[in-house]
Amino acid sequence: MSKKSHQLPEEAAKKHAQLNTRRLFLQQCGLGVASMAIGSVLGGCGGNTSVNSTNEIVKKITNNLPHFAPKAKSVIFLHMAGAPSQLELFDYKPALAKLHGQECPTSLIAGKKFAFIRGVPTMLGPQANFQQRGQSGAWVSDLLPHLAEVADEITFLKAIHTDQFNHAPAQLLMHTGGARLGRPSMGSWVTYGLGSENENLPGFMVLTSGGYNPDAGKQVWGSGFLPSVYQGVQCRTKGDPVLYLSDPKGMNRDIRKASIDAINQVNKLTHQEFQDPETLARIAQYEMAFRMQIAVPEVMNIKDEPDYIHKMYGTQIGQSSFANNVLLARKLVEKGVRFVQLFDWGWDTHGVSSDTALDIGLVDKCRATDQPVAALLKDLKQRGLLEETLVVWAGEFGRTPMQENRNGVGQSFMGRDHHTDAFTIWMAGGGIKKGYTHGATDELGYNAVSGAQSIFDVQATILNQLGFDHEKFTYQFQGRPFRLTDVEGEVIREVIS
């Protein structure tokens, strides 16, 4: 490819800039040329904090985004799909142990709706041993020995509440700000606003493990009503790392290069003929596609990581696992990817089978995820990346202090139903306090007694760390400005360092 050609996106953006008023630009950002110059692959709608001539131009004609100096440059969101039990992991309730096996007081269930509990269930004591960890003295159970070691890096939010008690809607609420289908996901919003720092990689990438996609489907990384260029790009550990990345069977790199060169030579003739800036954009995209074919497999390859890193994360080359995904997440943010989302399926511990039992299935899930998550925090820290990377760990809701009793009949294993009123999530890095706990629940872990925060508050806080005022970060759709946090949300100032 000619040296000159990399200037094309700039030229296209300049042309575009000349033609655009601010209003039209904001309205149409993502349309045609705009999307090319500033889609998730190059930069966001609002420009970019890195010095990049294309984005500098863009910046002059748009609202300056971010709204203020960001604390975090990127986000790694670790979603444990199915909703882990806070009562076995972080929210230690000795009083609950004393009530184990007793009928649930009617005061707890009167007027409440549960996903599966029917009639009067029994109370279920904690199924794990707890200790206070580090200097901060945060409670972390023995199921997470590695995480316990880095408790002093973390802020635990112990009184998060949601209003959705089914997986798909709750996951949608968590990631799109709405419990129904159709809204853009958090990563889409962020790349729409900030773009990527690496022009050869998408700004929003997704990795899944646990055997299935999240319950809410791909909509949790969809772009909703934002242009499709902002949707999350799923990285796969089997087949092409990104769909359609490899050349067709029988086509070698030289031929591919020759063919893209030919395509672009003709496209340049087409541009001479029609003068359509969109053609310039297409030329740039083909070059970028060619570069992605190299850059993506490179970043997705963990072979060259040193042994101590593999030991640290518990990764095994060639396997599909949560651990491998976590290591990849680190590599991606290191390369400048803005938003990395991991979904690990299989945390729905109802106790209907051994793999959903608190003392079997949950233990296995913890064993598979604890070490890599702790390694991620240590690794980011040793690379000096933790301060600029916000790591969030969460499920879509929590679990009841009662034993689940599906259909009004007892279960053969110990398990808990979905619980929306109070559960634990944690955040680390990215300007969040170290070794801090925010919020608390009552002695059964059922209701918040302090520091109650909604899902919208969590979203507002994440956006805040990236430099967005969540109330001002909007997109006009269907006659009104939409935002990730709908009409709610307050930044949780207490957890910001």
Partner: protein, 927 residues
């Protein structure tokens, strides 16, 4: 001159470029001499932008609302009205705009309005502060076609023959171009027009004969003939249905979590057929909203009601069915607004509309029309239309004829309706007070030992039989139904002697009972030792009469036929049916949009700012359809006309095709929009084909797409239509075009969705074992509209090329241009397969050297001759590749895999590389 521009300069130009704002300054100088201030174009935009956020339909700071004139003239918290019409000096509204004190000055905590804006508002108050209804809510009136003088039309085309302009559309366009000192572009080359109009009308390159006829004809009506031929092709319906399916949020799965499959493709086929038959738009709308309420509905009319059954349903364990039923109803109101009325009702779900004159309660009055349908988020998506195979259809006709004879037409219709829909039945999810019973998997009522449940409000008068759709039973089980409590009088009982029934239905005789009752269901089984075992599980209940013709000789054989028909498994499709009167629901306003906090009850009605509800129209979905398709409805025709224009020209006359309200964009050519809408409803009789024909016949449509520096400066977005529309093809067009030129395209129409090439591992949905199974034979080469659409994991190529995910109504696809799209067309197996067959076709149809073959292939793909420079590029690519493939026989073998050609593999392989490159050209992706 300047004076007249004040009024004439439309809004779009005021918000445009620097050039335009200087015009605005000029306007100011002449304000005092100008005609009366126009509320809609001059005042309302200022109020909307700066005031209404705090003084509107949601917030009314200081007790001031600017939603209507009445509200604005109502005393505020200060005790007097903000505006005294005719007297700016005594109007607080004006005083506050210029107040020195920042605490007082409005807009609050923002910079003050520009002087010109204050001048406009002051002058407006002085002139009496008259109000105006937003343009889109005013009825569509007959519009005078602009007179354009001969000299104005004195632009000659390429052949220096004709003056510019083919029809009335061009007069509107030309007038505005002239006002902006622009001339239209020359007409596009004949071949370019052929490609453009074919892709637009049928979504495919024109069939060879039709194309040749057009290209070789010198007759003046050759183009019109071409259009008529294209519009008559069945491919036309397949092209235009896509647009409608985005609005209808059509998909082949239910949406949430396990996202199970759903058969509603009959609706998709209905839409294709409706376009092909050119079903008048008013009828098209009526059938979709209320086909079931038409007299003696046809199957097609029932199928059409699938429009509002495309809402998502939630199968997830533990979901509240009523919550998702309500969500679906809400979605129907919003979709009706966005898709058909170009209006955003979604805002008023929670509060009064912040900008448009719709009130909170009006949302629920609209919702009332939709709130009485049978569907209630059941697992099986009831109600369904059972579409019997021909032999069974004949049996059904025989049976109903016999019933008509032995009993009555009414009874015959009742039986027919039940066999075709399994309605009206009561779903097992509608039972309550369950004891030793549960909705298993949160779907089906199941009894354990000593189980109990209640069905509410069943009218038993005249009912003698209960039919239950059964899932499982247990030997020894005893089932009974009582009225007046679990110890009341027994009206039915049944005992199971086996572990399995002969048929999945149970028929239980009922003791004759009069009136409406709660039914007390009980179950016990002396043989069952395990109290936790679930013995007896069911789906629905149907209360009916004895089978007719008791004394007729043929009673037994028809009764057998009846049960057989009940049990067959024909293909089905989701339909809308109304609840029987006895189970009708009431509708109340939701407090701040929350379905669980209800306020006052409301009756069905349409928003009062729009046309009146037609006299004598029923207050049902049918009446609603009559109101929507009433020629007095200001939105219906404008919305559709604008949408069709957008499909052809790449943008609407109102760009926000989803919102013609005050927050949408102003029309660039308001008179043209109204003229088209009026023609559509009147002269064209709601014929969509006729309207499209008018649009593509225009000279405006046929312009060349070349841009110049001057055009980019004066008309950067082609909003004046100073050139032809150069727009990227849709996902469907890209796939279909590739299949067409390669010769792979299957002409098969309709039926279950198909699965073309998709990489492994895209589907990975929890609790769902279904997988992507590559369709066999030519089924994998069918048009994109037949591709399986899974909501939680859409076909990735379609998603990459901006197809809406069909979760909710989507009125507009935002076109993007991304490297992921390049990767698809460069590497996708299916797209590559088309390139292979395209190369094979080129070689088979034209013997000769590679240059000639490339020339031929380019012409096939682009419909035009290749120029020397392009030819050189591709010939070089061919030669480079050829050398490579001659060296690497394995590579040549791999890339030609699947083709019939077995000789000259290197040559074929090299031609495949060229074919793939041609199919990736900008000109190939654009129209």
């Amino acid at each position: 001159m300047l004076i007249s521009t004040t009024k004439r300069i439309p809004k779009w130009i005021l918000i445009g470029s620097i050039l335009c704002s200087s015009l605005f300054v000029l306007n100011q100088c002449s304000l005092n001499n100008s005609p009366k201030i126009d509320f809609n174009t001059q005042v309302k935009p200022i109020l909307n932008k700066h005031c209404i956020h705090c003084h509107g339909g949601v917030k009314q700071s200081g007790g001031l609302s600017m939603m209507t004139r009445e509200k604005l003239l109502t005393p505020t918290d200060d005790g007097k009205p903000a505006i005294i019409p005719g007297s700016p000096s005594s109007s607080e509204f004006i005083r506050r705009l210029t107040a020195e004190d920042e605490e007082e000055r409005m807009p609050f905590e923002e910079s003050s309005l520009a002087k010109k804006e204050i001048d406009i508002l002051t002058q407006w108050v002085k002139e009496g502060a008259e109000w105006g209804l937003h343009w889109a809510y005013q009825p569509v009136e007959k519009v005078d076609i602009p007179t354009v003088t001969e000299t104005a039309l004195g632009v000659v085309d390429n052949d220096s023959k004709q003056v510019w302009g083919n029809n009335d559309i061009d007069r509107f366009i030309f007038k505005k171009l002239k006002e902006n000192e622009l001339t239209p572009s020359k007409m596009a080359d004949k071949r370019a027009i052929l490609r453009r109009v074919s892709l637009d009308l049928i979504g495919l390159p024109a069939p060879k004969e039709i194309a040749n006829q057009f290209l070789t004809s010198n007759q003046s009506d050759a183009y019109e003939k071409l259009i008529d031929q294209l519009l008559a092709l069945p491919a036309y319906g397949e092209k235009w249905a896509s647009m409608w399916l985005d609005l209808a949020r059509y998909a082949d799965t239910k949406g949430f979590e396990r996202d199970a499959g759903r058969d509603i493709y009959a609706y998709r086929d209905y839409v294709i057929k409706a376009f092909n038959q050119d079903l008048p738009y008013d009828q098209f709308i009526t059938e979709q909203l209320a086909g079931d309420l038409l007299p003696n509905p046809t199957d097609a009319q029932y199928i059409a009601t699938g429009f509002h059954r495309n809402t998502t349903t939630n199968d997830e364990g533990g979901t509240n069915n009523e919550e998702y039923r309500v969500a679906a109803v809400v979605d129907r109101v919003n979709t009706t607004g966005t898709a058909i009325l170009g209006t955003t009702f979604a805002c008023i779900q929670c509060h009064g509309h912040p900008y448009d004159p719709f009130e909170h309660a009006e949302y629920y009055q609209m919702m009332t029309f939709f709130n009485n349908t049978r569907d209630e988020d059941t697992h099986k998506d009831y109600p369904l239309l059972r579409m019997y195979r021909p032999t069974d259809s004949l049996k059904l006709i025989e049976l109903t004829n016999w019933v008509k004879n032995v009993e009555s037409e009414e009874r015959a219709n009742e039986i027919k309706h039940f066999l075709k829909t399994w309605q009206p039945t009561i779903n097992s999810i509608d039972t309550d007070s369950l004891v030793n019973a549960a909705l298993y998997d949160t779907k089906y009522l199941g009894f354990r030992q000593n189980g109990q449940a209640i069905i509410r409000n069943v009218t038993l008068t005249g009912k003698t039989k209960l039919i239950i759709k059964v899932l499982n039973v247990r030997k020894g089980g005893q089932f009974s139904i009582r009225i007046n409590g679990f110890n009341g009088s027994e009206i039915a009982k049944y005992q199971f002697f086996k572990n399995k029934l002969d048929q999945p239905f149970l028929e239980i005789p009922l003791t004759k009972t009069v009136g409406k009752h709660d039914l007390y269901l009980q179950y016990k089984n002396p043989l069952q030792q395990n109290p936790n075992a679930m013995d007896f599980r069911m789906d629905w209940f149907y209360f009916t009469k004895d089978f007719p013709g008791e004394n007729d000789d043929e009673n037994a054989s028809y009764q057998k036929q009846y049960w057989e028909l009940m049990q067959t498994n024909p293909s089905t499709t989701l339909i809308t049916l109304e609840n029987p009167a006895e189970r009708s629901r009431t509708t109340a306003v939701f407090d701040r949009g929350n379905w669980q906090t209800l306020k006052e009850e409301v009756a069905p009605m349409t928003p009062k700012v729009l046309n009146p509800f037609p006299e004598n129209a029923p207050k049902s979905r049918l009446g609603l359809a009559q109101w929507i398709t009433d020629k007095k409805n200001p939105l219906t025709a404008r919305t559709m006309v604008n949408r069709l224009w957008e499909q052809l020209f790449g943008q609407g006359l109102v760009k926000t095709v989803e919102d013609l309200g005050t927050q949408g964009d102003a029309p660039t050519h308001p008179k043209l929009l109204d003229w088209l809408a009026y023609q559509y409803m009147n002269d064209f009789g709601w014929s969509t084909k006729r309207l499209l024909k008018e649009m593509v016949l225009s000279a405006t449509y046929q312009q060349a797409t070349n841009v110049s520096e001057e055009l980019l400066l004066k008309d950067p977005y082609n909003e004046l239509y100073s050139r032809g529309a150069r727009v990227r093809l849709s996902a469907e067009q890209i796939r279909d075009q590739a299949l067409a030129i390669s010769g792979l395209l299957s002409p098969k129409m309709y039926g279950p969705p198909v699965m073309p090439h998709q990489p492994e591992g895209v589907w990975s949905t929890p609790y769902n074992n279904s997988s992507w199974q590559l369709s066999e034979g030519s089924d994998k080469y069918r048009r994109a509209i037949y591709t399986y659409m899974k909501r939680s994991a859409p076909y990735p190529i379609m998603e990459t090329f901006d197809v809406a995910t069909r979760d909710v109504c989507s009125a507009r696809r935002i076109r993007t241009n991304t490297p992921l799209q390049a990767l698809v067309t460069l590497n996708d197996e299916g797209y590559m397969e088309a390139a292979k067959h395209f190369a094979e076709r080129i070689k088979a149809e034209l013997a000769g050297d590679s240059k000639a073959q490339i020339q031929y292939g380019y012409a096939l793909a682009l419909g035009r001759e290749i120029d020397e420079r392009r030819l050189t590029v591709f010939e070089q690519l061919y030669q480079t590749s050829l050398v490579d493939f001659q060296k690497d026989a394995d590579a040549a073998k791999n890339i030609t895999e699947g083709l019939i050609i077995k000789e000259d593999l290197a040559e074929t392989a090299a031609m495949i590389i060229v074919a793939n490159a041609i199919m990736n050209l900008d000109e190939f992706m654009m129209k």
